[in-house]
Assembly symmetry: C3
Homo-oligomer: 378 residues x 3
């Protein structure tokens, strides 16, 4: 007698607590958003010395500012630094306005403690007569900061491995798109009532495209994704166009030059990559879309979607971009909304892990990353 | 020497935690709203095959839908079924619109999993090549469902005793009103900042009528209630009218025919019954009012008040109903508001259980039901 | 060899949990707001028999009412009483309107239980036939109440030492201002997103004045405070005016007579006193400002700012007061806002206790009061 070949058990989604338990959420975001590199924005948002923007990470306000100092081991972001927005005197939040320019120094408006653009304390009125006080002990607390082809990444724990250890192979892979030459043209911000992982999972499969995305489905063959093998820190793949389609726009027509570094193959596809935990990077033949994820609660995530175009295109008098905005506004709305319905359903006592099809294996891979990183088994 | 006769201790209200403690609330609603039969609505809301409405029970979304299959052991509601609104694939909430019509099947808009009106999975794209997958394993999860004289009751635990075990005697008692011939005409929905039990307790006594209800007090003698002995699952009684009053309306005048099955005695009274945990059933000589209770938090309850009239009356060209709406809108507002003040006061550290009068004994009986069902003593 | 003289360690602010932990907050307000005397308002708000106002203390609604009974040991507030706004029958909140007049008695609108202005139960319909019921057992629950120079203080625990034990020396010190002759003219109410202690700390130093308060800084020398030694229950000091300044108004000009009891020295200064836990008392040569603090959550405090003027001034046809309102509206806005930024920054993981200058020692003293009262060390 022959023993039956053991069938692989059906791969299933994660238990509900991964999407609904506030305690799990705190553990998870602590791990993924405070010890990993996360994408904070773009270098072209702060072109000049003193320019800054604030980034809120789960209630932590981070100042990202351009200095003119050369890059150092401590500040591998080169002249861009990131630090906590917290005065070292009595803990006051220093800066309120979402973006702007510091004029040479950063001053707290409570008692005028003053820091240079590198965070060093350079002024502290009436502290000289406090015995044992030394300005050098009270710099603004630093956050890790690196820039990759124009993308600013921060690492709040600060003591992490360099960014390369997290996304190294992508650094070579995406050179042809010359992302550092692209400039932010449009931004939309949405708060979506869904766990952050549901946004990533929604992005990682196109099985839903025929039902959910009538427009997108005119552009790609929904079964046509060429997925790269999943990595521990990212996953993704490419999709080619249907006959007659040149890029993702309302009508599939190209209204801009191809990005200057692309070869023939790259002109015929879109790259979709999830850089865990917070960046969805979509590279088209003629523009780039980034979505960054900012969890607010176990069931709520802020999504910042930004459209970036080549600086030479932007400079043209007949520069057009509304077609690309429109395309993704429509498609994002569909994705954000279904993600909210997923969150609602998974929160039900009736939910139990359900079976993945073979078209959803990148999702299962991501689930395993979550389990492995948290030292759990589902 | 003669020992004194032991006086019965004064009966008092429940301790504050029964009205203010979120942990107690979760235990209590789990018991009362998820293992008991609760009234979900009326069969005449979904007259045709595929018609459905959604009912939210403490965050659980339930689909109540009319099928045309005969009643079975699994579905004693006959052709009306209830099931969780959760797709078995990735847990998506399937249906968003509060009521409507399914055209033969129920389809999830994410990946097109499709169910028949009985909840059986009949379509699951791209799942055929998943080894070990069988559609029969993934029906929508069922909820108990029965219909009594037009009232749809659901039982979320699903494995409960039949509805008759909970309200059996009322099934005979209320036959003369022929409730299945009544049709919904008007609905009002209020969120009241009070624990659900305070709504029931307010309904169970008329001692407050002279102070709180100037209009209602013109209709009934407030001490004139004839209460039935309390049961473990419901309580109630009847009240006759004051001289010259025919029904509960702005002026006490009757503007419709008596309900066709009533005898002389029933034409002269109003029946007030609390069907624990969520239904207040008020039967007038010429119409019916139902209030269903939907707890949202320990101190917040949604109340759905519905006015139902006989189908023959509704068909008349001179059908009037605004008098009945107005009467109860006024009276309900008074009751909902004082219940909110009860909640506010009971939440004070100064609150301690207070003494019931002999006119409030149905309330004390209900308190004992709560204690007994939860296996507690006050 | 000579051992080095041990340097005093730098004094620092409290750890974050004192400003951010809800559990600490509950312990802290329980101690400070429920067992200490707190300022509830002014006697001139309720001049006639039956006049009352409600005061909400962390969700507890307290009735403060004027009776015409003489002062007794039980009611040392003289004819003003304070009691919980909770009916002793079924716990209903009796009174909803923030202020008004009771006509001889206080009646619950649910079942007409009725109390006299001293809180004694004098009517309870249908309770006579409940064996063992005695009206004398069910008075409204009393709260301690005393009046000091027109300020009404309440003590919710009720069994406390008299008010004199808490603020005794101030009773003599502030006699010259004859505060009982002052009358409320204007009130502003703000909810500030900051812990209550940050409001007190902001009030207790003027080191921030040059940066934060351009207007106030025209009036006082910011280093010119003469602080009294800190006490366990209050702290404060005085500040003189700059040359040419007569009082705190838009332009520093005096538009009213000096308060009638003041000597030459008192006409030249402003007294700033924090009466822990909830009163900031600012006495000017010609008017008084009180701010009372009403914590709502660990990071939220309601502030009631009131301007009081002498009754004789108010009676003049040319009475002016807008200058004083304007001055403090501007200055308060600045203080409330920076306190919110303190709360935001202290809530960061980057916050750690920071060093006080020697100009902030009253704040450190207050921190020690908090620690000592709660039996903690930082």
């Amino acid at each position: 007698m022959q023993p039956p070949v053991a069938a692989r058990p059906v791969r299933t989604t994660l238990p509900a607590r991964y999407y609904t338990d506030p305690a799990h959420f705190r553990r998870e975001v602590e791990h993924f958003f405070f010890t990993k590199w996360i994408c904070a924005g773009r270098a072209d948002q702060i072109p000049n010395r003193g320019d800054y923007f604030l980034r809120d990470v789960l209630g932590e306000s981070i100042i990202v500012v351009r200095d003119d100092q050369p890059s150092t081991a401590l500040a591998p972001g080169g002249s861009i630094h990131a630090m906590f927005n917290v005065c070292r005197h009595r803990g006051t939040r220093i800066c309120e306005t979402a973006c702007g320019t510091f004029h040479g120094s950063i001053q707290c408006s409570y008692h005028a403690w003053t820091y240079d653009l590198n965070g060093r304390l350079i002024g502290a009125p009436h502290m000289d007569d406090v015995q044992g006080f030394d300005k050098r002990d009270f710099p603004l607390k630093r956050v890790g900061c690196e820039v990759w082809d124009g993308h600013i990444f921060i690492n709040i724990a600060g003591a992490a491995d360099p960014l390369r250890t997290q996304i190294g192979p992508l650094m070579e892979q995406f050179r042809p798109w010359r992302m550092e030459e692209l400039r932010l043209v449009h931004r939309s911000v949405d708060e979506v009532k869904a766990n952050w992982k549901l946004i990533i999972q929604n992005y990682n499969e196109c099985l839903h495209c025929p039902v959910l995305h009538p427009l997108l489905n005119q552009m790609h063959h929904y079964l046509g994704a060429a997925n790269a093998p999943s990595e521990a820190t990212y996953c993704g793949g490419t999709m080619g166009f249907k006959e007659g389609i040149e890029t993702l726009s309302r009508d599939g027509k190209l209204r801009r030059q191809y990005l200057p570094g692309l070869g023939a193959e790259e002109k015929g596809l879109v790259s979709y990559y999830s850089l865990y935990p917070n960046m969805l990077l979509t590279l088209h033949p003629d523009y780039m879309v980034t979505v960054t994820l900012w969890p607010k609660a176990v069931d709520r995530t802020e999504l910042i979607c930004e459209w970036h175009f080549h600086r030479d295109e932007i400079a043209r008098p007949d520069f057009e971009f509304q077609d690309a905005i429109d395309f993704w506004e429509v498609t994002n709305r569909e994705d954000w909304h279904i993600s909210e319905l997923s969150q609602a359903g998974i929160s039900s006592r009736a939910y139990q892990p359900g079976p993945y099809s073979n078209r959803e294996l990148l999702l299962w891979d991501f689930d395993q990353v979550v389990l492995r990183e948290l030292g759990e088994s589902s």
